[in-house]
């Protein structure tokens, strides 16, 4: 067995060598699926520490990228012992970069943090027209839609996407969060989203608040 507190702290400190060594040692003991789930949970708690340090401006975007990579590698090591048991999901998010914008670094950071927080994320990719959001929302019935963009032209595309969701009669069944460099309170109101953020960690907290 492993020390959950130590693992959590090591993830929070982004100590890659330590985290991977602990997990390799743990997997070598041939743990049960339940124990493996506890290791995943410890890593996820570590990601929450990363998010907190980001909000305190001790970590920056680069650290979030590294944290996402670290978590992916950690889960990869745990996979053989995780078996078929999957952790309980707290909600579904349909996510994408809106039409006309090819940027996805922020979206991917949000995705990895939302997954670490227990969301199931359906990532449409970049430069996604409104119809793709509408179709995916119809298909998977998420609680939340996340729209991302870096260029200021993304604001208009976000509005078009919200309008398309309204026209499809889907708007009332979902919460919409927009994220990225150009979003502001005023833009959020005009677009008709429920929340906005330029901070992935804060965005995940907002989503958690919606599915409580």
């Amino acid at each position: 067995m492993f020390n959950a507190e130590q693992l959590k702290q090591a993830v929070g400190e982004l100590d890659e060598e330590k985290v991977l060594a602990m997990l390799r040692e743990f997997v070598a003991t041939n743990p049960s699926q339940e124990e493996a789930q506890q290791a995943v949970a410890a890593c996820q708690s570590g990601m929450a520490i990363v998010g907190d340090l980001f909000e305190k401006e001790e970590y920056f975007v680069g650290d979030l990228i590294f944290a996402g990579e670290l978590l992916t590698n950690a889960i990869e090591i745990l996979k053989p012992v995780l078996g078929s048991a999957s952790s309980k999901k707290i909600g579904k998010i349909v996510l994408g970069t809106v039409a006309g914008d090819l940027h996805d670094i922020g979206k991917n950071i949000f995705k990895s943090m939302a997954e670490a927080a227990g969301f199931e994320v359906f990532d449409l990719g970049i430069d996604q027209p409104p119809a793709n959001f509408v179709n995916k929302v119809r298909e998977v019935k998420p609680e939340i839609v996340g729209m991302s963009g870096v260029l200021t032209l993304a604001l208009e595309a976000m509005k078009d996407t919200v309008d398309a969701l309204k026209e499809a009669g889907l708007r009332d069944s979902i919460k919409i969060i927009i994220g990225g460099n150009p979003v502001t309170k005023e833009a959020c109101e005009q677009i008709g989203a429920d929340a906005f953020t330029t901070n992935a960690a804060e965005g995940v907290k907002i989503c958690q608040g919606w599915v409580k």
Partner: protein, 385 residues
């Protein structure tokens, strides 16, 4: 002397005063407006306009006529013809036609040593063929592709230079060039074109020595890119868009970014150039570093606290930006003008300031023209010293 000539001289003098740290007659109005905005403002399509750069003059003329500017507001760098000829992966059009830079990897992790050893050779042999797919071909084909690309590059920039001079003369605009070249900070070059935003963040934790050495190896190339080929013309600034700083920890910025960047800025100043930095995103935690650069460096701020910036770098350097361009989309004319007043009250006192938005309006739907007009006119009419 004709009226426009006198006007041009007056406007040049205002900017020359600002660049020298003297209080000008009035705050110069120097917005950057993208060619994309101009294309759509004049009712043209982005997809077609880029293939008909002979219309650059006609379209730019309308902007100079309709909006108050002291300096030619447009420059355009990302010609689809050039990048399509090269088969570029680093500059591509979105579904709306807007050219942008997606994440690319030009240099593999195992190629760091090769780059550090001989950066120019490595760029020619490994990086360019990877980023520009049409150079990843047989020697004859790639020679032709490269020749064609340079022909397009020279033709397009020649055209833009000629139109800039012609319309500046027609409208009496200042004879100052703030965008003579656009080299990257050495770390940004390694991040944006070689390793990619994501990989560089992993590399600085896993192989920091190699990153440090690669940045040092890239520095002379970036400096060369910014220096003029002949004697330095007067009233000319080299433009450096700063990119990665806000996304890094301060200690990493100090180790990987700042030393070669500062040296590069110093080299440009020694060569008689002004330096215009685009201080991307929020770099308020780096104000002390910025203040340490040679006097009268022009700093175009995107986000952050204008008061703090004025206080910390505004006595030694020249500030522009900070006006949130998204207000031109979301605000009323009155709100937009009020914002201009607010920004002027903070940044204009004592000089060392010219007006620009925090970034250029990108496409037509990012800024209402009536708001853009009202703000520029307000500054031109009211920001006298």
């Amino acid at each position: 002397m004709s009226d426009v000539k006198a006007l041009a001289e007056e406007r040049t003098q205002m900017l020359v005063d600002v660049l020298a740290g003297r209080i000008p007659k009035r705050v110069p109005v120097c917005p950057t407006i993208t060619y994309e905005y101009a294309v759509e403002y004049t009712g043209n399509s982005l997809f077609e306009a880029f293939w008909h750069m002979e219309n650059f003059e006609k379209i730019s003329d309308v902007i100079c006529r309709d909006f108050y500017v002291d300096l030619f507001p447009m420059n355009y760098l990302r010609f689809p013809a050039l990048y399509k000829t090269l088969g570029a992966r680093n500059w591509v059009q979105g579904s709306n036609g807007f050219m942008q830079h997606p994440e690319v990897v030009g240099l593999l992790e195992e190629e760091y040593d090769e780059f550090i050893e001989s950066p120019y050779d490595c760029i020619m042999e490994k990086v360019l063929p990877r980023i520009y797919t049409n150079l990843n071909t047989d020697p004859v084909t790639r020679s032709i592709v490269l020749a064609k690309a340079f022909k397009i590059f020279n033709d397009e920039f020649g055209n833009i230079g000629a139109v800039t001079a012609k319309l500046s003369a027609k409208y009496g605009l200042a004879n100052v060039n703030l965008f003579s070249a656009a080299p990257s900070a050495p770390f940004d070059f390694v991040a944006d074109q070689l390793r990619g935003f994501r990989n560089i963040m992993l590399d600085i934790r896993r192989i920091p020595e190699k990153v440090e050495a690669a940045v040092k190896a890239a520095a002379p190339l970036m400096t060369k890119m910014g220096l003029p080929a002949g004697p330095t013309p007067p009233n000319t600034a080299v433009f450096i868009p700063m990119h990665m700083g806000p996304f890094m920890r301060t200690a990493d910025f100090e180790r990987f970014y700042y030393p070669t960047f500062k040296e590069m800025v110093e080299n440009f100043v020694k060569a008689g150039l002004h330096v215009l930095l685009f201080v991307e995103q929020d770099m308020m935690r780096y104000l002390d570093h910025l203040n340490d650069l040679p006097e009268n460096t022009i700093m175009w701020f995107e986000l952050g606290d204008p008061k703090l910036a004025k206080e910390k770098v505004g006595k030694k350097h020249i500030i522009t930006g900070f006006y949130p361009v998204t207000m031109l989309k979301t605000g009323t004319v009155e709100q937009c003008v009020d914002k201009a007043k607010e920004i002027l009250d903070i940044l204009a006192p004592g000089g060392r300031y010219f007006f620009n938005f925090d970034k250029a309006p990108l496409t037509f739907d990012t800024a209402k023209p009536e708001n853009l007009k009202a703000v520029l006119e307000y500054v031109a009419q009211n920001a006298n010293y």
